[in-house]
């Protein structure tokens, strides 16, 4: 398969996206979709993205569920913090977490997760020390945040590295 498609997963994702955008599974859109996804797969070779293989696909579902639950919970929590900002300002602050991730794709996914979860903002990642500087709205639960980030990092490491 690699001889035809240098990045099979990427091409499949592009193909699905094309079908979703067109909202049809008519033969015409399938043909154009196959052509486009194969062509853009070859364009990606020039960009040389970091390759990563997916391991333990079963873990992905669990991770996605945890992320969804965390997004809902932190949306509610941050909405509460904003609404009562005048009365009792939240304790905000910086914290650094040791994140042992090498893979660029895993780091990018971690950034997406942390950003989609309100209440944590990714500021800086130091590759040499492997430490991540984040700003959290609710620094009182620093240990909880540290555990959450480490759990995500561990999950991503198992799936992508």
């Amino acid at each position: 398969m690699r001889a035809w498609l240098p990045y099979p997963l990427f091409s499949i994702a592009l193909f699905l996206m094309w079908l979703l955008l067109n909202q049809s599974v008519a033969p015409g859109s399938i043909i154009v979709g196959v052509f486009l996804s194969a062509l853009l797969g070859w364009v990606m070779v020039k960009l040389q993205p970091t390759r990563s293989r997916l391991h333990r696909l079963g873990l992905m579902g669990g991770l996605a569920l945890t992320v969804a639950a965390d997004i809902i919970r932190s949306n509610v929590a941050v909405a509460g913090i904003i609404l009562r900002a005048r009365g009792r300002p939240a304790n905000t602050g910086f914290m650094s977490v040791d994140v042992d991730l090498e893979n660029e794709n895993a780091l990018a996914l971690l950034a997406c997760i942390l950003t989609a979860t309100p209440g944590t903002a990714w500021l800086e990642y130091d590759r040499r020390r492997k430490s991540l500087l984040i700003h959290v709205l609710d620094i009182d639960n620093e240990d909880l945040w540290r555990r959450t980030v480490k759990r995500y990092a561990a999950g991503l490491k198992e799936i992508l590295e």
Partner: protein, 123 residues
């Protein structure tokens, strides 16, 4: 042609609920921009709108048109996906710019630049 009045009441209630919740989330996010005291705090406020607000409003849209046209509709998932994937780019850019400025100005409440572990001699 389908009209919004054709929506059965259970779907109408669900769509209204999702839409209002999503709009409220977006409003709270914008309110946060006004109310939170420091720049780093204000970084968090728009993420409420981009995650909670976008997801809820897109779910409402999916449900509404799926019921109206009586077929599955998924292409709003692409909106959610692309918004979630692209938000970190701007957010990191803003955060790093603020961090850089505050470090140059030697502000006390900002963490120092971490000292390199070893002297970077290969760069």
């Amino acid at each position: 042609m389908s009209h919004l009045t054709d929506l059965p009441s259970w779907a109408a209630i669900a769509v209204c609920g999702l839409l209002l919740l999503g709009a409220a989330m977006t409003l709270i996010g914008s309110l946060g921009l006004l109310r939170l005291p420091s720049f780093y705090d204000r970084l968090h406020a728009p993420t409420i709108a981009t995650s909670g607000g976008t997801i809820l409003i897109c779910l409402a849209s999916m449900l509404c048109f799926a019921v109206l046209q009586s077929r599955w509709i998924f292409h709003e998932l692409l909106i959610i996906f692309f918004v979630i994937v692209t938000t970190p780019v701007t957010l990191m850019l803003l955060g790093q710019a603020a961090l850089y400025r505050d470090r140059v100005e030697n502000r006390a409440d900002v963490p120092r630049r971490p000292k390199p572990v070893a002297e970077p001699d290969t760069e």
